[in-house]
Amino acid sequence: MTQSAPETASKPNVVSIRDLHKSFGELEVLKGISFDAREGEVVALIGSSGSGKSTLLRCINMLEVPNQGTVAIDGEEIRLRGKGHDRRIGDERQIHRIRSELGMVFQSFNLWAHMTILENVMEAPLVVQKRPRPEVEAEALAMLAKVGIREKAGAYPAQLSGGQQQRAAIARALCINPRVMLFDEPTSALDPELEVEVLRVIKILADEGRTMVLVTHDMEFARSVSDRVIFLHQGLIEEEGTPDQVFGATRSPRLKQFLNAANHE
């Protein structure tokens, strides 16, 4: 756990989500979700597959545009226009600016294959944030050292193991000095022995007091790293609380069932 609950309770909201709805065709994936992530807080989203947790995370940076509801980063609401399925981004400049401060880590890494690891990490700071190259390069190398793959700076993604690729992707997210780190099942595509090295890096970041929203299927990890756990069931928040409350004093029968199944994996 990074900071005790009362410590973050007084901090401002970095992510505020209100009444979020999202459907794909007929299928309603999110049915009205509201939650906040305060500065320095680590929020874990858990739930069975299809519960909408990844979609919810992807709505934060508008990779999916919600049909209804709002998302605000640092109190600034992301402008959308249109209604329902026609809802789209309302202000390209605003979304590019906001996205440039949200560090997303994907399940399948999504490193740019034609760039070296160092180029991957430097790309957004140089091209989007337009920061000076010497400063960015120094920071990128420091971030690679931090995730333990400084010596791979000149390699291409395909030459790295899955765990190394995911750590490079984390360095890429760190180098934009993000307001929030968004993790979308960062270890699901990894073999168990590689999972550990990535989880260790995420744990270090959590302990540094970074604001993070994390989608995970790893209950033990969610418990050890997060300040607050949100359990999603069929597009709604079924239960929410500190890890001790959610895992130790489970109220919802559906969550009990889910945790039982997860323990028997």
């Binding site: 990779l63 979304i95 906001i98 994907f106 294959a113 034609h114 760039m115 291409y156």
Partner: protein, 282 residues
């Protein structure tokens, strides 16, 4: 002809060799060699245009705006369906006559129109006289349009082959649509497009042999002329119908271009495939 050579060298070569050396470097042969520039120009300029039209066509075909998608699809299907030779003679003529038609509406008077009766151009002042440079540019544009349609399909497929997740990551980091397109999508597209584009390049190289259809005195036309039975006043019959020998030279030339092109595309492929090819080999 080779009087400038020292006597010992001329003795060593012998009169026959000196004669043929002189013959193969006479004015007409030099013109033949120089006409290579037309072929090279048409091939290079034509392929640059083909890639440009290909990128444009593929972008239209990929567009979310239905009319744009329709234009891209129509371009790729119709132009690929029309025989190249037909399009190659159709486009320059159509372009020339359209220009003359526009000129006619500006410069012709009722009197000059009457003098020309029903002939084309409508009046003599609206006659656009074309020479080799203009024809060459139009030939290159024709090649660009024809093979741009093939390149459209190649590039369209290649754009779809780029992993979606990498484009999504680029968007997630705040890149604008054009930054995603140029820095990630098109940059990675080449590795999937180059094998197909190398085919298009070979087709363009072969199509440059059509330049003579547009009255450009290119290597094929000159080979035809030089290969015909040839008399010189001083020596009488130099050779009878030697066209096959001259055509053979062209064969060898085109094969050499093919070999060099393959080497060139290998180099390009290595550049475009850095990092990416390793991945697909895993």
């Amino acid at each position: 002809m080779f009087d400038f050579l020292p006597q010992w060298m001329r003795d060593g070569l012998g009169d026959d060799v000196l004669f043929w050396l002189g013959y193969l470097t006479n004015g007409k042969h030099l013109t033949w060699y120089a006409s290579l520039q037309f072929t090279v120009f048409a091939a290079v300029f034509g392929s640059l245009l083909a890639v440009t039209f290909g990128l444009l066509g593929a972008t239209l075909k990929n567009s979310t705006f239905p009319p744009a998608r329709l234009i891209g699809t129509i371009y790729a299907s119709i132009v690929r369906g029309v025989p190249d030779v037909l399009f190659f003679i159709f486009f320059p003529l159509a372009f020339e006559q359209s220009v003359e038609w526009v000129m006619a509406s500006q410069v012709c008077t009722p009197e000059t129109l009457a003098a020309q009766s029903a002939a084309w151009p409508p009046c003599k002042e609206a006659n656009w006289l074309l020479s080799t440079p203009e024809y060459l540019v139009m030939a290159s544009v024709s090649l660009g349009i024809i093979y741009g349609a093939f390149a459209t399909n190649v590039i369209h497929g290649a754009l779809r082959a780029v992993p979606k997740g990498q484009l999504e990551a680029a968007r997630a980091y705040g890149m604008s649509a054009s930054q995603v397109l140029w820095r990630i999508h098109i940059r990675q597209m080449w590795v999937y497009a180059l094998p197909g584009l190398s085919n298009v390049w070979m087709l363009i190289i072969k199509a440059t042999s059509l330049l003579s259809l547009l009255q450009i005195a290119d290597i094929v036309l000159w080979a035809d002329r030089l290969g015909a039975p040839n008399f010189l006043k001083s020596v009488g019959l130099v050779h009878d119908d030697w066209r096959w020998r001259y055509y053979l030279v062209l064969f060898v030339f085109y094969i050499l271009v093919t070999l060099v092109s393959e080497k060139g595309f290998n180099v390009l492929m290595r550049w475009a495939g850095r990092g990416i090819l390793d991945e697909s080999r895993r």
